[in-house]
């Protein structure tokens, strides 16, 4: 006799448990098969079914029940092949016959741990609520007592400084004939400082990103700098740099990241004698907003020939970056020595700064850096930051929101009088709802010198399908349906790097205009209004108190 479990399907999931239910319209479907072919997770399949039909022939209704063989597109209930809601099926369907629909009742998280493995994915924290950044409003509007500036007429300088800035009372200056000159006899170290656009593209590696995606970003950044005069910089992430770029003059727009796996650094070091330009900066990654305290992982399927050669590793092996830099054991080792070594590598001509994930301990790191004259900045990546691959629990639950973390760090610097000496770079959820310039401006007014964007860039420039309802988010699998986070040529040829570059340019030009549209009515144009907290309000008293800004409702 058959066991009951087989007969009643008791151990199978129903579609109701899954996060997305595929709505397929029989009457519109032409059975072309494109949807099933394109589905990155094989969540739908073509199936043949016997259907009971009742029909009538002849002049008088004479219903006859019969059987008919029909071809259908069916969603599977296998948890390993759950529909991610990416909607690629809808994109390719010529007849609007198929669409995934978000299922509010889903119990996906109860089951996505088969084989004792926690749910792993890419993307961002799945939190569709309105973030603190989006709740901040610009409420100090210059009106009559101080005229608003004209974003179209007045001169604007939307620029920031990346690099350690000397305190004014330590400048090696002397008076000569009523003028100030730099005292050449002074042995004071003048740290390198770059003037950049205050929104930068955050660290996303070659490897995590597909070749056309990375190339598109790099081309867009080069165009912004060379043609538009907008000094946007981008960070490589941990994964090395394409060899040609290392030896090109465009390297000056690139921040090279070093992280705990040191991937690509053998190649970078060997390329140093051939470099014609210094990189914009070096970022030492200690943490990431999306998965604080967790290491990186590039899965074997993404380690193809190009990636293997750039990273200096064999093909098709999992590339794990440990959670911490294994050779270091204390903050002095981890931070001071690493900054020192990196600075020395480029003859102290390149700013070197660490990046950490948002955490309650950020101030401890900050205070260590404040005492280190070679530390060029501190980048803090808040909990809303994105990733190519991590455990869901890390992405969703670990980390600190950026707004208060950044604010307390800035106010700590103010207390020490070092707010202008050590720039803070804020990241994690900037542009989460598409309000890039507003989020950036809000963070700047809370005290950030610059902001860093990752996920937003992918969404805005390459139409990344992910959203806060766990849509798609399969960056880790190498099956990105847009061709953004994959090394599979069949997938990444879908992405046109020129189009990505064009969008990068459009995004930054628009952000530049919008930043001016925010700063101008607040009467600011010449310098970035870093820490101009009187310009901000929020509609929650507790948040207002925490951020030390005003409450407005």
């Amino acid at each position: 006799m058959e066991p009951a479990s087989k007969l009643d399907h008791n151990h199978q999931l129903s579609l109701k448990e899954l996060p997305y239910i595929v709505r397929w319209k029989d009457h519109r479907c032409t059975r072309c098969g494109r949807c099933t072919a394109v589905c990155p997770v094989k969540a739908i399949e073509a199936s043949v079914k016997v259907k009971r039909v009742v029909y009538s022939e002849g002049p008088v209704p004479t219903p006859i029940a019969g059987r008919k063989i029909v071809h259908v597109v069916e969603q599977v209930t296998d948890i390993e092949r759950y529909c991610t809601g990416c909607g690629t099926c809808t994109l390719v369907c010529p007849n609007d016959a198929i669409e995934p629909e978000y299922n509010l009742q889903n119990k996906f998280m109860h089951y996505k741990n088969r084989g004792g493995e926690g749910y792993k994915r890419g993307g961002r924290r799945n939190d569709p609520s309105i973030s603190t950044l989006d709740r901040l409003k610009f409420t100090r509007i210059s009106m009559l007592t101080d005229p608003a500036l004209d974003a179209g007429r007045h001169e604007f300088r939307v620029r920031t400084l990346l690099g350690r800035i000397l305190p004014s009372d330590e400048l090696p200056l002397k008076k000569m004939n009523g003028k100030l000159v730099v005292d050449k006899e002074s042995d004071k170290f003048i740290p390198p400082v770059r003037e950049i656009f205050p929104i930068m593209i955050g660290s996303m590696s070659v490897g995590a990103l597909s070749p056309p995606m990375w190339e598109g970003l790099a081309m867009g950044v080069a165009y912004l700098n060379e043609v538009e005069g907008l000094p946007v910089v981008m960070c490589t992430g941990e994964g090395g740099v394409p060899p040609r770029l290392l030896k090109s003059r465009f390297l000056k727009y690139i921040i090279i990241q070093i992280a705990s796996g040191y991937f690509g650094w053998d190649e970078i070091i060997h390329a140093i004698p051939h470099m014609v330009e210094d990189p914009a900066a070096i970022e030492i990654k200690y943490g990431q907003g999306a998965k604080p305290g967790d290491g990186g992982l590039l899965m074997a399927q993404k380690v193809l020939k190009l990636i293997a050669s750039i990273r200096g590793v064999p093909q098709f092996v999992d590339l794990a970056s440990p959670p911490t830099h294994q050779t270091k054991y204390s903050i002095e080792e981890a931070v001071a020595k690493m900054i020192q070594s990196m600075s020395m590598t480029w003859g102290f001509r390149v700013p070197v700064y660490p990046k950490i994930s948002g955490t309650k301990t950020a101030r401890a790191v900050l205070n260590n850096l404040a005492r280190n004259p070679y530390a060029a900045a501190l980048s803090i990546d808040g909990e809303d930051g994105g990733t190519g691959a991590a455990y869901n629990v890390s992405i969703d639950k670990m980390g600190h929101p950026i707004a208060s973390n950044l604010r307390e760090c800035y106010l700590d610097l103010v207390r020490q009088g070092k707010q202008n000496e050590l720039p803070l770079i804020a990241a994690g959820g900037v542009g989460k709802k598409g309000n890039l310039a507003a989020n950036a401006a809000a963070l700047i007014m809370l005290g950030a010198s610059a902001v860093s964007i990752g996920k937003y860039t992918l969404q805005a420039t390459a139409n990344c399908l992910g959203d806060e309802y766990n849509r798609c988010n399969i960056c880790n699998t190498g099956k990105c349906p847009r061709g953004i986070t994959t090394q599979d040529p069949k997938l990444y040829r879908r992405l046109d790097s020129d189009k990505v570059a064009e969008r990068v340019v459009e995004v930054f030009k628009a952000a530049n205009v919008e930043l001016k549209k925010i700063f101008a009515p607040m009467g600011r144009s010449t310098e970035l209004p870093i820490g101009m907290s009187d310009g901000l309000s929020i509609d929650d008293k507790a948040m207002a108190d925490r951020l030390e800004i005003s409450y407005a409702c």
Binding site: K179, L180, G523, S525, E527, M532
Partner: protein, 369 residues
């Protein structure tokens, strides 16, 4: 908006000249406060130039506290000047308006001026702190050869109230400001001009970059950078920080508050220094709309604008007497007999500096240094 009237001369003159200039420039309600700072004093004070003068207001209770405190601090009272108050409708009279001349404590007599300045400032700040909660003491300045008078009301009425038309009080440099406050509360400590260790300034307009500037100044570890009941007080402190603390020539004040663009800096001979200054003093950059008029301890007077020149300002006069005004009618009132064609309307790159004793006026262009 505020009205500003500064006059510098090689002979002593009455503050009424400033008041009348303010009256000429008056528009609407200018009754949020009048401030007068007199430097290089004449009359009885001409004999007491080396002795610090404490200017302020106090209640009867405050007077006692003040005396006890100064006594304990080792300051010996040499002279008291008080305006002969004539009650005027609309002005609430306080108990004592005073300028008290002191002799330094014995231990300080032979100390260098810088140390004396620190002592005087700290005394002023302590008095301010003591008197602020119950408003029993207001201390505006404590410095040799400088008097400050402040009160809330219409400038002309206040002149009558203080009896400035009758008093034999004169000076060679007088800064006066009639206030129509906008953003911040009407309060005596919000009245311009602001004074710190020989540096004084008054400002027209608002300062949209006030909060980051205030935070920067307050975190310099210098006890004098407090107050900020007006967003304009930071201009005085930036001046003090730039010239006294950092030792920069006065012309660099403009480079601090309105730094040049990178391309413009390249044209300057001192570009290397300028780049560093721009970076290190980035939080002190203003966006206007402001005109700043002030003086430095050596008796130079100056006027600068924000880089967009969103507020008016004019300098004119004759050798031996120049006026720095927020409007031209004020200048006409103060120095009618002058060659008007030589009046200077400083533009975005200009700093106008009138040398001590009003000897000559120079326009310093930021682009050419």
């Amino acid at each position: 908006m505020c009205r500003l009237a500064a006059i510098t001369s090689n002979i002593y003159f009455s503050p009424m000249e400033n008041i009348l200039a303010l009256e000429t420039m008056k528009e609407g309600h200018d009754g949020s406060g009048l401030g007068l700072t007199l430097k290089d004093l004449g009359g009885n004070f001409a004999e007491l130039k080396g002795y610090p003068i404490l200017s302020g207001i106090c209640s009867k209770k405050g007077a006692k506290t003040l005396d006890d405190f100064m006594d304990k601090a080792g300051f010996k009272l040499k002279e008291i000047w008080a305006p002969k108050i004539k009650p005027v409708k609309g002005i609430t009279q306080r108990d004592h308006y005073f300028a008290r001349v002191y002799d330094y404590p014995t231990s300080y007599k032979n100390k260098p001026m810088r140390e004396k300045e620190d002592l005087l400032m700290n005394i002023r700040l302590t008095l301010r702190k003591m008197g602020e909660p119950d408003e029993s003491i207001f201390a505006f300045s404590f410095y040799p050869d400088v008097i400050t008078l402040k009160e809330v009301g219409d400038p002309l009425q206040l002149a009558e109230f203080f009896g400035l038309d009758r008093e034999n009080i004169k000076a060679k440099i007088i800064l006066a400001q009639g206030r129509q406050n906008t953003n911040y509360a009407i309060y005596l400590y919000a009245c311009h001009p602001f004074f710190i260790q020989g540096y004084c300034s008054m400002t027209n307009g608002e300062n949209t970059a006030f909060v980051p500037i205030r935070e920067f100044l307050m975190s310099r570890g210098f006890p004098g950078y407090i107050g900020y009941n007006s967003d304009s007080e930071v201009f005085t402190h930036i001046l003090h920080y730039t010239v006294r603390q950092l030792g920069f020539p006065l012309t660099y004040y403009k480079d601090v508050i309105t730094p040049l663009k990178e391309s413009e800096i390249e044209q300057r001979e001192d570009r290397e220094a300028l780049k560093l200054i721009k970076q290190s003093l980035r939080p002190l950059c203003i966006d206007g709309p402001n005109v700043v008029i002030g003086f430095t301890p050596d008796g130079s007077c100056f006027m600068v604008h924000d880089a967009k020149k969103l507020r008016p300002g004019v300098v004119g006069g004759v050798k031996g007497k120049f006026a720095l005004m927020s409007e031209e009618c004020g200048l006409d009132s103060a120095i009618p007999k002058r060659d008007k064609s030589k009046d200077i309307f400083p533009m975005k790159y200009d700093t106008v500096i009138v040398k001590p004793h009003a000897e000559e006026v120079k326009v310093w262009n930021q682009l050419q240094n």
